[in-house]
Amino acid sequence: MSKATINRLQTGVPGLDEVLGGGLPELSFNILAGPPGSGKTTLAHQLMFTLATPERPALYFTVLGEPPLKMLRYQQQFDFFDSKKINHAIRFINLADETATGDLGKVLARIAAEVKAHAPGLVFVDSFRSVILAAQGNGNAFISLQQFVQQLGMLMTSWQATTFLVGEYFHEREPSPIFTVADGLIWMRQSVQGNSVVRKIEIMKMRGQPISPGLHSFRIANAGIHVFAPPRLSAPGGSGPEEPLKDRVAMGNPKLDEMLGGGLPRGYSLLIAGPTGSGKSILAGAFLAEGARNGEIGIIAAFEQRPNRSRGKLLADLIEAGKIGVIDTQAATLSVDEISMMLITEIKRSNATRVVLDSLSGFEVLLAPTFRDTFREALSRMVSALAATGVTVLMTSELEDRYDELRFSPYGNAFMTDAIVVQRYIEIDSRLQRMMAVVKVRASAHSHELRIYHIDDNGIQIGDMLVDQEGLLGGRPTLRPDAAHRKGGGYSG
């Protein structure tokens, strides 16, 4: 026996279809809930303007709540609002008169009459709270709210309309009979922490759909709502664990390539950890410039306090020439998923093969406070998602020099990268020197040497291994006794 086919409507809201598990089931009965100002009416309008066509017309019932003229005044500011659809594919109908009677039967009868008259494929009731309050206020409701919702659900399903009840106040902790009737429950909210406000959406229920659980951040801009779905973690296409090792990318520093065992395996993620001023950004710049020299496109997401800080002439020229794309990271309420989506979109658009995140420390500072608790998990997701696109990733991480322990990242994220380069300051002969080492290159041989380096106008110049010093990781190395002896017995005596 063949099963009923559930068509999934593509909502046109970026990211929402992914979160919904592939789109919105046609003929479903949905609730859009959340506090005032959380974006419910905007989401409803965006869905409606995307989905409504002359063949699948929409009815938008406005109840008491927001005056329709006000709603139209503000909603038309969005790009999706198309006046030409109004009174054609989209019809607004005000139910204030019926609602004011407090008789839900009358409200239902009017909805039924309009549905019969216009045979809509989409029905919106905004806001549903007004219906409830009006019914409670008057005390003479002839049918109960639950009956109302059940009858409305039945009516809409038989009339083959995908329906949305836009509701204001439902408490998520108190399961309401309305939620039982609904096929879909979409919750929208705002999280406020300090001066930062982050909008979040949660699909609490969507019958028959593999939804993406949990809270997803979204933004409301001129184009409407944009949901930031967590990046998909698909396996990297075709490249087995052995394959990347043959194909290596040059870092723009031959000595470092040598230390890495012949360059960084393509598709790997590399973490460069070091204290401030150790030249992490210089290495990152060299990595992108080397890519550009080989005809590769790069992307940089620079999380700096000062966006206009000079990135050096070479990098600036490459950005100008379109060889390196820049991700705007200046939004005040950034989430990791949002940056992931921006990066992946840009990678796909420009066919980029090299990505730089400089630095994770700056990223954490720019992040909206509400996301900081989950930074590590989200970062791990992002690295996996970037890896899945096949790009080679270089991340930098600010690391305070601690000479009593060997750490590579304050986030404990060293485990998630394929390769690690650590930089440190050391004192030799009363001078501050810099030293670098390759700590890890997954599944590959690499140098274990601690190499001294300095920075000049041409970038990072890596020198030799400090064979005659020991205790380098402690920050204050000493001459090895045999070396001291060779130096003329300075320590003897």
């Binding site: 406005t62 005056p67 329709p68 003229l69 006000k70 139209l72 005044r73 038309q76 006046s83 030409k84 109004i86 009174n87 607004f92 109908i93 005000n94 204030a96 008169d97």
Partner: protein, 126 residues
């Protein structure tokens, strides 16, 4: 002849308001439409004092009897048409301020006097 013209002008004016009401109340509600109309009367009365009695009058939604009465009292078709034009212009201006010209035109498309041509809403309604 003069009286007949005047009567026709009044009929046209009231018919235009009925069409506007029919086009708008389903969308903004009877109360919403009544509020817009009242505000228009209040603003238009400055140039057309004949409308003053309507400003404070209790008018049921969709009831244009008092407007008909006031227009009919005017000395001739031209005077009635001038008041109607002033009131309509105020009303359309108010709606346009609120929801913009494109949407105003869209919502009032069905309020055009038959036969409708390619003219602007305001010309047709007059």
């Amino acid at each position: 002849m003069e009286a007949k013209d005047a009567a026709q002008a009044v009929d046209r004016a009231v018919a235009a308001w009925r069409r506007i009401d029919d086009a708008l109340w389903p969308i903004v509600g009877h109360a919403g439409m009544a509020a817009l109309f009242k505000r228009s009367l209040y603003l238009a009365r400055v140039d057309h004092p004949a409308l003053t009695p309507m400003v404070d009058a209790e008018i049921a939604p969709g009831d244009f009897a008092l407007l008909r009465e006031i227009l009919a009292q005017q000395p001739g078709a031209a005077a009635a048409a001038a008041i109607q034009a002033g009131l309509l212009k105020t009303f359309l201006g108010l709606l346009t301020d609120l929801i913009g010209p494109a949407l105003t035109e869209r919502l009032l498309r069905s309020a055009r006097a038959p036969p409708s041509g390619g003219e602007a809403v305001q010309d047709i309604l007059l």
